[in-house]
Symmetry: C2
Subunit: 377 residues, 2 copies
């Protein structure tokens, strides 16, 4: 079967209605940058909404505009792939608060200056309100499925709970229904690292001259390094790097230098992860999105009982966890599965074995492909 080449349609929607936020404020003129793949059918019933993770974006299966790297889920989304763009109309929007074209702290406030820290603190539900506004604009009453991993999974849960009539299915991968104390703690380290950087300037670094005007790059790199450790399993780090030393510039095997350069490969890898991140992400967006994740507690939003969050839902659910994910371990998915059972929702729940830790949802895990393809049908 010859599949059509994958074309990404990139657009920006400006909402004509203000977006009401959980914090009590309203945001006017919200812009949502999004991509679509495939074609909406005549019944407008074949849409799949993909929600991205903390540092993800709408470039699911198109090259990243800054890094030029392939989209973050090319292995999952495309013609004949588990999320099959020959059959489904795939939508992914940059979340509210982010920095790849949607409204966030780097966007102009009504006074024409960047919002910076004047931007209202948002929640996962606020992000979902943005997704629903996008579906409204696209004339899609109900998606075939809402799909996401990590923070994308939180949005999928929030979507299904708060807008139950708008989805027929929810696929939630490597996620949690609430951020734990340890989750919050790691995010707080990252925020403090950013705020400790004098180039952060209370958030008002946009357009500042010197050092490229790029803001708290060092602090953001440290934040990314700390977070990145939580995305990989201990065993994965050991298998990938162990205590291997960096080869010398002349190609000879590495040796301890008795200095503070990156002697170990894992140090070099982490430094690269930190530095490369600062080229593509806004530090204030990192503050706001981590805050939204820390605030996330789906049970709390619904009177304290998680099952009540799903009381109105008619969707089918699929939950996937990974056995090496210590950020949102399997027990968190099990809690969601129990709540869905208690609410009488159809749910399938699988713990998959994969060596990569939390990042498994982005990586080569053939079992995940089969689960996704099977659930979407």
């Amino acid at each position: 079967m010859a599949s059509a080449p994958l074309l990404a349609e990139s657009r920006v929607l400006t909402l004509d209605q203000p977006l009401a936020l959980d914090g009590g404020q309203q945001l006017d003129g919200v812009r949502l940058a999004y991509e679509t793949y495939g074609a909406l059918n005549a019944e407008r019933s074949n849409a799949i909404l993909i929600c991205h993770a903390l540092t993800g974006d709408q470039h699911v299966a198109s090259p990243h505009p800054i890094t030029g790297k392939p989209g973050w889920w090319v292995r999952m989304v495309g013609p004949g792939k588990p999320i099959d763009t020959d059959r489904y109309f795939v939508i992914c929007a940059n979340v509210l608060g982010s920095c790849l074209g949607s409204t966030g702290p780097a966007s102009p406030a009504p006074d024409g200056q960047p919002w910076a820290m004047r931007f209202p603190v948002i929640t996962i539900r606020d992000m979902v309100r943005g997704q629903v506004a996008l579906l409204d604009a696209l004339g899609i009453a109900r998606v075939h499925a809402v799909v996401g991993g990590s923070m994308g999974g939180m949005q999928a849960l929030s979507f299904a709970a708060n807008f139950p009539e708008r989805c027929a299915a929810a696929l939630v991968i490597a996620a949690t229904a609430r951020h734990s104390a340890q989750n919050i703690a790691f995010h707080e380290v990252g925020r403090q690292a950013i705020m400790a950087d004098p180039e952060w300037r209370g958030g008002d670094y946009y357009g500042v001259e010197g050092k490229g005007g790029k803001g708290p790059e060092k602090g953001l790199a440290v934040a990314r390094m700390a977070a990145h450790i939580t995305y990989i399993s201990e065993a994965g780090l050991t298998e990938k790097f162990g205590r291997n030393l960096q080869a010398r510039p002349d190609g000879t095997p590495g040796a301890k230098t008795f200095g503070f350069d990156a002697d170990f490969q894992v140090e070099s890898y982490l430094r690269y992860q930190g530095l490369s991140f600062t080229d593509r992400f806004d530090a204030n967006s990192y503050l706001y999105i981590t805050r939204a994740m820390d605030y996330f507690d789906l049970a709390e939003e619904h009177g304290g009982r998680l099952a009540d969050a799903f009381a109105g839902s008619t969707a089918r659910f699929c939950l996937v966890s990974f056995d090496t994910d210590w950020l949102y371990p399997t027990v968190e998915s099990r809690i969601i599965a129990h709540a869905l059972n208690a609410a009488g929702c159809p749910v399938s729940f699988m713990e998959l074995s994969a060596p990569f830790g939390h990042d498994s949802f982005l990586l080569d895990v053939p079992a995940l492909d089969r689960v996704v393809a099977g659930f979407l049908g």
Copy 2:
């Protein structure tokens, strides 16, 4: 039984011989600040050498000179306690590279200026060489036991392996025979946080005016926050803080502020841990000591086979791990136990159940008290 009151003798030894380091350098005039408790018997056979952890010090059971807090192991060391100062002569020295009186990067180099980053990179074995030089000066040929938790346990292992004739027993708590990729990764985050702070000034912050001349306080606080998360179990953080919100200043129950203050108790706790640490610890010492820990690989030092490290040992060993310690989990102690078995060394190995994670060795774990008292005899 009336026990004598506990008196700490505080002294500083200046070595009259240069200390040869693993990095190839020699350090002249090394100073070692140490405390002793109890009395050395006539046979000089009742000494117990306690080795402290990364941010610990010689104030095992005496008030900290800066914070005024009780010594870090008062619950374990004293008259009638598991390490009984009525029976044993207890010695603890501030490790080489630290900042509580022993030679480290804040100490004057031969040119009279602080060493700062000119200080040689040291290893765990170098620290142990310092401990042995102290025993030499005290006229102690062989200690009844060398005891330590965390980095102190690494020193106890290194001591028993490299100076087998100098100890009759080694008690190793919550330790590892080598730093894993994940261990190194967390330390690297801390080092990068310190070095990213412009107040670090390449390490030359001593005596610099402004901001109290206290150096990279913000970076050091972030480093401490990241490390502190690894000292506590996820379940421990959940039990202690969960998602509890900070009470308002007026005493009313906490609520989300939709801002970036410490809404969650765990945020406030971590911030306090970070800030209070900077009052008592030197950032360059933190760099050097974490580096020493990352370099630690006892097998590598002995041809790649851990059992060979203990080939010459006649000591009894006791290994203790904690079931909630994810920094140096039980599997690391098991690896050491297997190596000791292979080397024919007498070893008892216990995994204790305690809710506090890695920090259990410092906290109220009665089972640990019994193990320590029983092993020391």
